[in-house]
Structures are given as structure tokens and as C-alpha cells.
Amino acid sequence: MTTAELAALSPLVATALTALVAMLLAAFRRNHRLVFWVCQLGLLAALAAVHACAPGAGTSVVGAPAAPLLRIDNFFVFFATLFLLLAMAVAVMLAQYFRRRPECRDGAEEAYILLVVAALGALVLAAADHFASLFIGVELMGLASIVLVAWPSGAARDMDRLQGRSLEAGLRYLILSAAASALLLFGIAILYLQSGSLAFAAIPPRQGDYLILLGTGLFLAGMAFKLSVVPFHLWTADVYQGAPTPVTALIATLTKGALIAVLLRFLAAMPPVQTQAALPALVVLASLSMVVGNLLALRQENIKRLLAYSSIAHMGYLLVPVMAAGSGQLSAQAVAFYVAAYTITTLGAFSVVNGVSEGAGSDGYQVSRYRGLLWRAPWLGASFMLILLSLAGIPLTLGFVGKFYIFAAGADARLWLPVAMVVVGSVIGLYYYLRIILAMAQSPEGGEETPGGWRERWLSYGLTALLVVLGIYPAPLVDWLPVL
């Protein structure tokens, strides 16, 4: 291992060290504030490492040159930056969550540690160019998030209804994602059988090789489950609903973003023949996701379930540029931009939900809870409104620019059916986003206090400002988009 390689790996090392240090700290001195700050500083150090040690325009390969395990290039730099910032934001949300729910604070330290571990998994995925690193990344991220989903049940002393639901969600996630991992592994095994290598690029460009097709199909099915694409979506709403809101934000953004990144790398590295073969499956899965996800959200009254269905639809949108992977640089840029836009917007949405709904009793997650929010808390309401408009892809928000990129990439690759489905999905989607805005604009029924002050809300405001500023002037983000 050369020094250059070690330098390139430093973000991963820094993240792993952060987890270790935090774990030892938690073992010997339980103080969740201390652990929080250690984790934040560690993630910040990793972020600095990403940029300090980033290999200019070229790529740095870690592992055997023929079959690199990790590829540290500007694609990695973009996604690693995004994931590290995301993890820091989720840590802030967790801190807010624990402040709101003191009964769940037992073991808060481990929550931060698991968050860092999940971030490490995401970093590995952002660099993965090999099935081994892919699987390590997927499982690192997946197992950490499973524990986080079931969090309140493990830590809190009294079991209320919500905790039962968390446990149930965690167990459901564990079992189903184990099944999906099995599919993934089986697919990888079959591909290995035919190629003799675990590198993405090593898949032989043989047309009509049934085993390769079978392996690709199984691999895609496993990935589709983790991305919660229709028809693998059934777990999504239950898990989103059961998990603590910051964890929901984590699995809605970090997991999805990292898997999309690695899927894009996989499809771009595969021989064009095989990418072409995978196309119909991706088209069908994406189209189904866009339509079914939006339809499911249509009359949903629980805001977390609604956002879960919305994220299913968004994964459908994201698959459009992903399937254009073989056809040019626009695809990678569109994916990167949309992931960034989706991450900022979704984090914003969940941070508002975290502030408004958490600790508000059993009906806290109902849309009716948001009734009159624009009058009760004008700033928070306005910021949630902008977030929802961004999710719907209305101009002057980041979501619009992202959708524009998707249209551009889809049209560039002549994927007319998926592009048409994006339009249909967006139209349906507008309905339920506007329904929440409508509820927020109605006159408040009175008596309902909106808890939380500036301390609870600055993250929401910051993310909203970011999505509006970048929505109006996206050039800084655009300039920074990676090429694959």
C-alpha cells in the first residue's frame, strides 16, 4: 500500500477511527453530549480529509490494479462530501430528538456511533468498484440502520406503543433486508461464476449469456429492495413510520443516495451489452415506482408514511438518469445533482417533522397536526411549504432544477417512456404535496402549541435557505458535479 493510497483512504480511516474513539469513550465515560461532539468533529475531519487528500482530476485506485476494491475519484469526492454533511445534519437531528424525548436518551451515545458507522458504509459504497466492497458497504450501512430503526425499544425503560412499533419496524427491516441481501449475494455469486472476478468491469461482454443475465437480475432485485423500488417497496412505509424521525431521515437519504451512487457506477462499468440487457427491468421498476409511489401517497394521512411513499416515487425518478448511465456524462451529473437536491429537501422535510411531530403524542404524525402551521409558526410553515414545493419540483427550488436534469438526461438517452412517467408522477405528486400546504394554510384550530424554538429549527431554516438559494442560482452546485 503506497502513501498516496493511504492518503486517498484517509476519509474512510478518519470515519472509522471516529466510530472507534466514540465507542471507547462511550464505554468509559457516558456523556451523550461529548460523544455527539466527538462524532461531529470526526466527521468534520473526514470531510477535511476528503478535500485535502482528494486526487485532483485523476482517479486513485485502491486495491489490485486489475480489480480495484475502491476507486477514489471526483465522483467519490462529491458523494463523500454529501454523505458526511448529511450524517452531520442527522446527528444534529438526533440531538434535537433526544432533547425532545428524554425517555429515549438512554444509550444516545450508541446512536451517534451507529450513525458514524452508517456513514462509513456510505463512503465505502461511494468508492466501491468491486462486489466485495459493495457488499461490505451495503451491510455496514444496512446493519447500522437496522439497529437505529429499532432504537427507542432498545434504550427506553418504559415500552409504549411507539416503541413496540419501532421494534416491529426494525425486525421487519432486518428480516426482509436479509432476504434481499441473499438475493444480492446470489446474484454476485453467479456473476463471479461467469467472470472469475468480483470487479464490476470484469463482467464479460457476452450477449445472451443466461447466467450473467440471471446474476444481473438477482443483483438488481437486491438493490431494488434496498432502494425500496416497486414492487419491493412494501416494507418502506412501515419502517419509515416506526423509526425515530432522524433515523427515518437517515434511511431516506443516506441509504438511498449511497446505493444509487454505487448502482450508477456498476451500470457505467458494466459492458454496454449487459447494461442494455438490464434496461427493460430498470424501465419497468422505475415507471412502477413513480406511479405506485405517488398513488400510495395520494390519500395518506400519516406524514411519515406519506414521505415514505414520496421517497419511493423519487427513487423512480432517480432511476431514469441511472439507466442512462451508458450514454454519456449527463447521466452522472443528473444523478449527482438529483441526489444532492433530494437529500437536502428530504432532510429538510424530516427535520421539520422532527420538530413538529416528535413527542406530540400518538396523533403527532397526522397531517391534521400541520393544520394552520403557517399561522401558528409562520417561519417554520413557510419553510416546510418551500420544502414541499421543492419535493414537488416547482420552479425556483432545488427540486425543480433536479427534475430538469432528469428530463435532460432522460431525453438525451431517448428514454421516452420513463420521462413520460416522470411527468405523470409529478402531476400526481403535486396533489398530495399541495394537500399538506393547504392544511398548513387553513386557520388553526387553536390550543395547539408548536413546540420548539430557534434551537430546534435552525437546521430546517438552513436547509430551506440552501434549497431556495441553490434553486435560484444552482451554478455553484453545477460547477461541482462530478464526471464518471
Binding site: 500500500m1 472507534l20 465507542m23 471507547l24 462511550a26 464505554a27 468509559f28 457516558r30 438512554d106 461464476l193 449469456d209 443466461y210 447466467l211
Partner: protein, 136 residues
């Protein structure tokens, strides 16, 4: 089975075999349903085990420390597997391998220290978590 036989599309034998399996299972179920007598009495729904009425519930609560111990076992078992591999290639991987193994063992040690401090190895009936001890 020859891999290429499948990839060349010669799936006939496999398809026939699979079809036969489904046919057989389906036939057995159908015959049982058609020929067997159907009655519903008090004992029909009870679990049947060698003529003995079952006792208690199948859903036992296992002590959490059982899982902790199991996980500890897996951790150390896996460690040994990796270290065997390292030992075999000790000369080839040289110093880098040695450092790698040190890191690996260090991480496992940290994990062990954590488990220990948290109370995972305090098994037995009087197990207490760290917080309880601090509360005391």
C-alpha cells in the same frame, strides 16, 4: 450440471424435472383433499405431537445475554478465521500485512473493551447494565 448447458438454452431436462415436482406435490395434496374425510371437532386444531398434549407456549423469551454471548462468540470465531489466513500468508504480506492485522486486532480489542464496560460479559442472574451501577 454443466453450466454451459444451461446457458446454451438446453433447459428441457430441468424444466421437465421442475414440472414433475410441482405435479407430484399438487397431486398428493389434491388426493388428500378429495379422498380424505373432513371433520371438525374440538381436538382438530390442537397441536399434535406423538399423542401427547403439548405443554406451555412455543414463544419462549430468551435472555438477552444469550444473544450477547452468541455475538461475542461469532466475533472471536471470525477473528480466528482472519488470523489463520494472515498466518498462512505471513511472509508474503510482510510489514503491511502485520500492520493490517494489528489494526484488525486493535479494533476487536476496542469492541471487547466496550462490551465489557457496558456489561455484556457480566452474565448471570445478577446482570446489571452500566447505568444501573452508576445509579446506585
Amino acid at each position: 450440471m454443466d453450466v454451459y448447458a444451461i446457458s446454451q438454452g438446453q433447459l428441457w431436462s430441468f424444466a421437465i424435472y421442475a414440472g414433475a415436482v410441482f405435479l407430484l406435490v399438487g397431486a398428493m395434496l389434491a388426493v388428500g383433499r378429495l379422498a380424505g374425510q373432513r371433520r371438525h371437532e374440538k381436538a382438530t386444531d390442537e397441536p399434535f405431537e406423538s399423542g401427547i398434549v403439548s405443554v406451555g407456549d412455543a414463544r419462549l423469551r430468551l435472555s438477552v445475554s444469550y444473544f450477547v454471548v452468541a455475538i461475542l462468540f461469532v466475533i472471536f470465531d471470525l477473528e480466528v478465521i482472519f488470523l489463520y489466513a494472515w498466518a498462512v500468508a505471513f511472509v508474503d504480506v510482510g510489514l503491511a500485512g502485520f500492520i493490517g492485522a494489528l489494526v484488525f486486532i486493535g479494533v476487536l480489542l476496542a469492541a471487547l473493551a466496550y462490551e465489557w464496560r457496558v456489561g455484556a460479559v457480566d452474565w448471570g442472574p445478577r446482570q446489571r447494565s452500566l447505568h444501573e451501577r452508576e445509579d446506585r
